[in-house]
Amino acid sequence: MPVVTYRDALNQALQEEMQRDDRVFLMGEEVGVYQGAYKVSKGLLQEFGEMRVVDTPITELGFAGVGVGAAMVGLRPIIEFMTWNFALLAMDQVVNSAAKMLYMSGGQFNIPIVFRGPNGAALQLSAQHSQAWESWLAHIPGLKVVAPGTPYDAKGLLKSAVRDDNPVIVLEGEMLYNTKGEVPAEEYLIPIGKAALKREGEHCSIITHGKMILVALQAADQLTKEGIRVDVLDLLSLRPMDVEAITASVRKTNRAVVLEEGWEIGGIGAQVVDYIQRECFDDLDAPIVRVHQVDVPMPYAKNLERAAKPDVPKTIAAVKKVMYLDQ
C-alpha cells in the first residue's frame, strides 16, 4: 500500500472529489496561488482553475458566509480555515447560518458544506494560535464533526465530508500534515459517525480522537512492555459520536481514560464520560480519568508548553491510576 503524508492524503481527497463533482469548490486564504498555507491544496489551482480554487481576502466571517450562501443554492463548498483559531471570527456563519439553516427553514435548505483546517496546538505558537475547538463545534446540533489523526482516516473522512449533505467540520492538525501512513491507491470512504479500535487490549480503554491518537498509541506501546494491554479507541467522529463503540470497549475493560487535546471544562471528554456513566455504570471498576490540556492559555516557553499539553507520560499515569497501580 502506498505510504503518503497526511497532507497528501487530504490533497488526494480534494482532487478526487473535485474531479467527481463540479459543484465542489475550494475557498480560503492562500489556497490557490500560494498552493495552500500548509500545501494541502497544492496543484489544485492549476488543475481546476480560479473559479474552483478561490483565494480569499483575510475575511473568515465573510468567506464562511459566502460558502453557506453558495451551498444554499446548490454548490458544495469546501471552506479552508488557515487554522481554526482564525475561524472564531466565522463562528456566526458556522453556527447561526450553516448549522441552523435546515431546521429553521423547515427542511427546505440543507447546507452541503465542509469547513476544514488545522485545529489545536502546534509548537510554540502560544495562546492565540494553539487552541482545540472541537468541543465548541461538536456542541452544535446541525453540524457534523470529524477529527482524523492519520492519513488514511484523513482521506476517507474528508471524502465522506464532501459528499455529505450537511455541514461537516473537518479538524486537521498542523503537526499531522507531515506524518505518514498507508493510504490505499483505490478509492475508499470512511463513514462519519463510526469510531475505530486502533489497538486491542483488555485492561483499560483509552478513548481519544484527532492527533491525540498518536499519543495514545505511544502510551499503549509503552504500557504493553509493562504487561498492560489497552484498547485504543479513535472516535474519528465527534458528532455523531459512536457511543456503541465506546460502551463495547468499556464493558470489556471496565476502565477508561479519555484523552483530548483541549481544555477540561465542557470538553469532548466530558461528553464521553457522560456516555460511559449512563451506559456502563455497572461495568466500571474505577472512576474514569481524563487527560487534557492544563486549564491555562497555551504558554510560549518550550518547557511550559510541554507541561500544558497532554502527553504520553500523563496518559500512562492515567491508565495506571484507573488500574489502581499508582498506589
Binding site: P57, G62, V68, V73, G74, Q93, S97, M104
Partner: protein, 342 residues
C-alpha cells in the same frame, strides 16, 4: 436532499414574481395591492401578537412597504431574495402565500418553515426566497455567496439582499461587499435606512451619515433612493439588476424609509429615542399615500375600486388568520426532524 415544498394550493393572491413576465412593468394598482396587502396583513399580526397567537420577536414592516414591493417588483422569478428578521413584507411581496406566512407566525405545521422558524425565519425554496435571518448583518455574506454561485454556474440571475442601516457598521457587511466587488458578483445590497437601529439613531452609530458612500470603499456603484416612493425604488433596483446581469457588478442602494411601528412588537413606536412629532411627520409620507397621490394625478384612482381592493385584502388577511388558526401545531416528532439531511 431537502424536499421541495408545494404550497400553491393555499395561495389566495397571485405571486407577483410568477404572474409577471420579465420586463413587463406591474401596474400602479398591482404595486398598491402589494403594499396594501402587507399593511392589512401586518395590522392583523399586531393584533394576533397582542392576543398571544404570535410569540417571540415580531418586527413589523409598516411604513416601509414601498421598499420591499418596489425592489422585488424589479426581479425575475429566477432571481434570489434574502432578508433580515424584518421579513414579512418582502416575503409577501415575493409571493409566499399569506396563509403560510401567518401559519408560520402562529407556529403551526402549515407555516412556510413548518412552524420551526417563526417571524424572523420565513423561507420558501420554490420562489427562491432564501429566508429571513436573525443576526444583524449575518446574511449579507450569504448573499455574496449566492452571487458567487450564480457566477460559478454562468447564470444571469441576481441576488437581492435586504438589511437595515445599522448593519453597515458590522464587519460582515464590509467583508461581504469587498468580496462581491472584488469578484464582480451579481448582488444588490439594499440598505433599508429607516433611521434607527432599534433605538439608536444612524447619526449616533455611523461616522458618516450618507451611508451609500460606504460603497466607495469597494468602488461599487451606489444610489440613494426615496424609499417611500415605490416607483423610485423599483427604478433603482431595475438599474441595479441591469448592472448585475450584464456586467456582474454589485450595487449598494441606500433606500431611505421610516418604520411607523416600534423596532419589534415589544417596543414602543416612539418615546425615548424618537419623538411622536417626528413619527407623525414621517407618517405624512406613508408610501401608500405617496402612490395614491401619483395615481390620482394619473387618473388611475377610483374610491370605489380602492375601497373594494381594501376590503378584498382585509379578507385575505382574515383568511390567512383563519387558516393559521385552524392549522395544527407541529407534531412532537417534528422536534428532531430537519436537524440533518439523511
Amino acid at each position: 436532499m431537502a424536499k421541495k415544498k408545494s404550497e400553491s394550493s393555499v395561495s389566495t393572491v397571485p405571486s407577483p414574481a410568477s404572474s409577471r413576465a420579465a420586463g413587463v412593468a406591474p401596474s400602479h394598482t398591482d404595486l398598491l395591492r402589494q403594499m396594501l396587502l402587507i399593511r392589512r396583513f401586518e395590522e392583523r399580526c399586531a393584533e394576533a401578537y397582542a392576543l398571544g397567537k404570535i410569540g417571540g420577536f415580531c418586527h413589523l414592516y409598516i411604513g416601509q412597504e414601498a421598499v420591499g414591493v418596489g425592489a422585488i417588483s424589479a426581479l425575475r422569478a429566477d432571481d434570489y431574495v434574502i432578508s433580515s428578521y424584518r421579513d414579512h413584507g418582502q416575503a409577501l411581496a415575493r409571493g409566499i402565500p399569506p396563509r403560510t406566512i401567518m401559519a408560520e407566525l402562529f407556529g403551526r405545521v402549515d407555516g412556510c418553515s413548518k412552524g420551526k422558524g417563526g417571524s424572523m425565519h420565513l423561507f420558501d425554496r420554490n420562489i427562491n426566497f432564501l429566508g429571513g435571518h436573525g443576526i444583524v448583518g449575518g446574511h449579507i455574506p450569504l448573499a455574496t455567496g449566492v452571487g458567487f454561485a450564480i457566477k460559478y454556474r454562468g447564470g444571469d440571475q441576481v441576488c437581492l439582499c435586504f438589511f437595515g442601516e445599522a448593519a453597515v457598521n458590522n464587519g460582515a457587511f464590509h467583508e461581504a461587499l469587498n468580496m462581491a466587488a472584488l469578484w464582480k458578483l451579481p448582488v444588490i445590497y439594499l440598505i433599508e435606512n429607516n433611521r434607527y437601529g432599534m433605538g439608536t439613531a444612524l447619526e449616533r452609530a455611523s461616522a458618516i451619515n450618507d451611508i451609500a458612500e460606504r460603497a466607495c470603499s469597494y468602488d461599487m456603484p451606489n444610489e440613494v433612493v426615496d424609499g417611500q416612493d415605490v416607483l423610485a425604488v423599483r427604478d433603482a433596483v431595475l438599474r441595479a439588476t441591469q448592472r448585475a446581469r450584464g456586467e456582474h457588478t454589485p450595487t449598494l442602494l441606500e433606500v431611505r424609509t421610516y418604520r411607523f411601528m416600534g423596532h419589534s412588537m415589544s417596543d414602543a413606536a416612539s418615546g425615548t429615542y424618537r419623538t411622536k412629532e417626528e413619527l407623525e411627520e414621517y407618517m405624512k409620507r406613508d408610501p401608500i399615500i405617496v402612490l395614491r397621490t401619483t395615481m390620482e394625478k394619473n387618473g388611475e384612482w377610483s374610491d370605489t375600486a380602492m375601497t373594494a381592493l381594501d376590503e378584498e385584502l382585509k379578507a385575505v388577511a382574515q383568511d390567512a388568520w383563519d387558516f393559521a388558526d385552524a392549522s395544527a401545531e407541529p407534531a412532537v416528532e417534528a422536534l428532531t426532524e430537519d436537524v440533518y439531511v439523511w
